[in-house]
């Protein structure tokens, strides 16, 4: 086959142009990326990040350093990030819903704004779940609602944190079902298990994970659109006539002025990480997601609409 010099030259220059274009696009991660986790080491956010770390490094071709900046339920790191992080994609931070919606409404000194960054993606969620112990008198959600109508405030439900995903959705459930329950905040999920096992509370309003981790429990309802893979026998609130879908969403954000290419590059890397982690996290009760773009704005808008009146009301009560 005969190839003229000219054709060869064209081919070569075309190839070079392509390589150049490619390298221009692949420019972004050329330094190490710092991935800030605003919570203590060992928590869910941290463990997930440590899983993502090697996959992200492989995908992006640079080191990804997970660091911790705990305090104030995440607020310390978030306010610091919004004030000082560079919009170059080399500083990324874990963000959680509903924390980043709730804290700025509820605290005057949270130090950050819900919308003052660009959220890359929410990579997983942990739906809320209403859990009672196996020997609880409540066989179904209806049993609990009926008892609550007769004995207002007498049923105590433990959850993780105040005005957290657990607390807010329990308040929503109270409104939907027109009942009065008593919410008791604990710090983290560890003490919650003990509180249920030791009968210090009537039930728990916590995440699906607890339902998969504990032996002697019954999950009365899950706050997700569809049943959760790890708990196929647990009905959703929706199935039982209460329109409550919510929980904690974990994701990652960059400063507001970060370019779209960088955000997209990061999103792809996190999506790949998710695919590989799913096999480990799904059996634990996590729901893998890739919420970004418009869907993300909608989610935040919906949750804000649902939670804002509750939070404002609570603020006035104080």
């Amino acid at each position: 086959m005969f190839v003229s010099r000219h054709t060869l030259a064209v081919a070569v220059s075309a190839l070079t142009a392509l390589t150049f274009a490619a390298s221009a696009q692949a420019e972004y991660p050329e330094e190490d990326i710092t991935y800030v986790i605003p919570f203590d080491p060992g928590g869910e956010s941290d463990v997930t990040a440590r899983f993502q770390e090697p996959i992200l490094e492989e995908e992006l071709g640079v080191n990804v350093n997970v660091t911790h900046r705990p305090g104030g339920g995440g607020a310390v790191a978030w306010s610091e990030f919004q004030n000082s992080a560079e919009a170059d994609g080399y500083e990324i931070i874990g963000v959680n819903l509903p924390h980043i919606i709730g804290q700025p409404i509820e605290r005057s000194d949270a130090g950050y704004e819900t919308d003052d960054w660009k959220i890359v993606t929410f990579f997983h969620s942990t739906p809320n779940a209403l859990i009672v112990s196996k020997d609880s008198p409540y066989e179904t959600l209806e049993d609990l609602v009926e008892d609550a109508k007769e004995n207002p405030e007498a049923i105590t439900l433990g959850g993780s944190g105040t005005y957290s995903a657990n607390h807010l959705d329990m308040l929503r459930f109270e409104k939907e079902a027109d009942i009065d329950l008593t919410y008791i905040p604990f710090s983290g999920t560890g003490p919650l298990k003990g509180a249920l096992e030791g009968n210090h509370v009537s039930g728990l309003f916590n995440y699906t994970m607890l339902g998969t981790e504990m032996d002697n429990v019954r999950v009365l309802a899950v706050a997700s659109e569809e049943r959760v893979k790890a708990l196929p026998d647990a009905p959703t609130f929706k199935e039982q006539g209460y329109d409550i879908v919510g929980g904690a969403y974990r994701g990652v954000a960059v400063p507001a002025d970060t370019s779209d290419e960088v955000v997209e590059r990061l999103r792809e890397a996190f999506a790949t990480a998710n695919e590989q982690i799913a096999e480990k996290q799904e059996p634990l009760g996590f729901v893998m997601e890739d919420i970004h773009g418009e869907e993300l704005d909608e989610l935040i808008a919906t949750l804000r609409e649902a939670y804002e009146p509750i939070l404002e009301e609570a603020k006035e009560d104080d």
Binding site: D40, P41, G42, G43, D46, V47, R50, F51, E53, P54, T67, H68, R69, P70, G71, G72, G73, A75, V76, S79, E80, E106, R107, S108, D109, A110, G111, Y112, N151, P152, E153, A154, T156, G161, T162, Y163, S164, T182, Y183, I184, P185, F186, S187, G188, G190, P191, K193, G194, A195, E197, G198, H200, V201, T212, E213, M214, D215, K280, L284, D318
Partner: protein, 510 residues
């Protein structure tokens, strides 16, 4: 039994032995550095364990955990600085011993006590885990409130000299514990509109500030090193055998401390810091010569170090059976278990019994390894601290503490808080308010507040809400213990005041 032998066989491989040895050594050094806690050591190790098999990963974590809790004793004894919060009580007698030239004796005693404590914890975990687990869940909010109150009665016995100054210190600590987001209710308090203060005052930061900085200022003011010079040290060459006789010669103290360690370890929410403080206090209360405590009584070191190492395996009783972390570092081990598909529960002891027993036995092995590693490492670190002239030692320690404080939460504010508390602590010490009651108030203030508020919230529908604090036997017993504790602390003082005023000794604290 078969399972135990099988587990032992998996453990006696070259790979496992090396993992334990390296884990213990690494843990020891991390624990010895103020600011680097056991939880942090485990978190750093976490990514490495992902590539290992489940058992090897757990062995590594267990060994580092064991080593770091023990390592805290080194700095506690040598420079009056608890390397981890679990070693607070070790400073009370360990450092005076070191100042008397008995540092190696204190280190050796701490090592032996830690080994015994570690082994006792493993034995409890191996034999009694399922029945003990039921105990763990008996402690609800009301009970935790009383446990914290019981701990606060310690203030009286820690404040040798003036009860009033001790109480003042305790109050300062409790006030400091209220800064930041409240444990129940979620509102921010005392942040003065300054967002970074939402994070509150971290215990380790206060610990470093209140213990290290005043000591450094003291050393600088007096122009001396941490320990007396080499000449005096010749005398201290007590043999290991003599120390062993001291430690094991009074088995009651050792047994009591181990039991206290185990009981507190299974209570979720109370970690090694509470364990060692309570064990120390009881050792003092039951001693024939309580006045010698705080002045270099080896029993104090033994009580603190044996009880906090019981906690390592002991706190895994509720973890392995119920999935409830008995102490903060356990949360990380729980994460590893879950990621390997191991759900806490009785299955862990039957279906995957070989793995579980292997893990438990490896912690026993780690405890045994503390002996050679600790005695050798101890000699080394001891020599370094003694030989280094103070004008190198002081800036060196200051540097390490500042780095450690920063590394804790990557926070400059924490460094500032640490230095401020340290300076305040120096002057408070000059007027007789010690660091120990302040730290005690800081630790227990939060626990007491949370327990109290949770209890009263749950009782919102009751006619007399506060009766909930006493609504079962356990809470009544604990409340009674608080009364007895307060009485045993106050009555002798009152007697001295009223009748035997002349006998009030001028107790002087450095």
């Amino acid at each position: 039994m078969d399972m135990l032998l099988q587990a032992l066989a998996t453990l006696l491989t070259f790979e496992s032995l090396i993992t334990v040895l390296l884990g213990v050594t690494a843990g020891l050094f991390i624990g010895a550095l103020p600011g680097l806690t056991a939880s942090m050591a485990l978190a750093v190790l976490l990514p490495f364990t992902f590539s290992m098999e489940a058992l090897q990963g757990l062995i590594a974590l267990g060994a580092v955990y064991m080593g770091s809790i023990y390592g805290g004793a080194f700095t506690a004894i040598l420079i009056n600085t608890p390397g981890t919060p679990s070693s607070i009580a070790t400073t009370f007698d360990g450092y005076p011993m070191a100042r008397q030239g008995r540092a190696y004796e204190a280190l050796a005693a701490a090592t032996m006590a830690s080994v015994v404590g570690g082994l006792v914890g493993v034995a409890f975990l191996l034999v009694l885990a399922p029945p003990l687990a039921r105990w763990a869940v008996a402690f609800g909010p009301a009970e935790m409130f009383w446990v914290a109150m019981l701990g606060l009665t310690l203030v009286a016995s820690l404040s040798s000299g003036s009860l009033l100054k001790g109480l003042l210190g305790g109050c300062i600590g409790m006030l400091l514990s209220t800064i930041g987001v409240s444990p129940v209710g979620g509102e921010t308090r005392f942040t003065f509109g300054f967002p970074p203060l939402q994070g509150g005052i971290e215990l380790v930061v206060a610990l470093i500030g209140l213990f290290v900085i005043p000591e450094l200022l003291n050393m600088a003011a007096e122009g001396r090193g941490a320990l007396p010079g080499v000449g005096e040290l010749r005398r201290r060459d007590t043999s290991i055998r003599q120390v062993a006789r001291q430690v094991f010669g009074k088995p009651v103290n050792l047994i009591r401390s181990c039991l206290i360690g185990q009981i507190i370890a299974i209570i979720p929410g109370a970690g090694g810091n509470v364990t060692s403080l309570v064990a120390y206090n009881e050792a003092r209360r039951f001693s024939k010569d309580p006045k010698s405590f705080g002045k270099g009584n080896v029993e104090g070191v033994v009580a603190s170090e044996s009880s906090n190492n019981v906690m390592v395996a002991g706190s895994m009783v509720p973890l392995l059976t119920l999935g409830i972390p008995g102490a903060p570092p356990d949360a990380i081990i729980l994460g590893v278990l879950l990621l390997h598909g191991l759900r806490p529960g009785l299955d862990l002891f039957t279906q995957s019994g070989v793995l579980t027993n292997g893990f438990i036995l490896s912690m026993g092995l780690a405890a045994l390894m503390l002996l050679p590693v600790g005695l050798l490492g101890g000699r080394l670190i001891h020599r370094v601290v003694i030989r280094t002239p103070y004008y190198f030692l002081l800036p060196g320690i200051a540097m390490v503490t500042i780095l450690g404080t920063f590394a804790l939460r990557n926070s400059y504010l924490d460094v500032g808080i640490m230095l401020m508390l340290g300076t305040a602590g120096y002057f408070l010490r000059l007027i007789g308010i010690q660091a120990a009651p302040i730290v005690l108030g800081l630790i227990l203030g939060g626990i007491a507040e949370q327990g109290y508020v949770q209890t009263l919230m749950a009782a919102v529908a009751d006619p007399v809400p506060w009766l909930r604090l006493l609504n079962n036997t356990l809470s009544k017993v604990l409340a009674l213990l608080v009364l007895v504790g307060a009485a045993t602390a106050l009555v002798p003082i009152w007697l001295e005041r009223s009748g035997r005023l002349d006998k009030v000794s001028q107790e002087d604290t450095p």
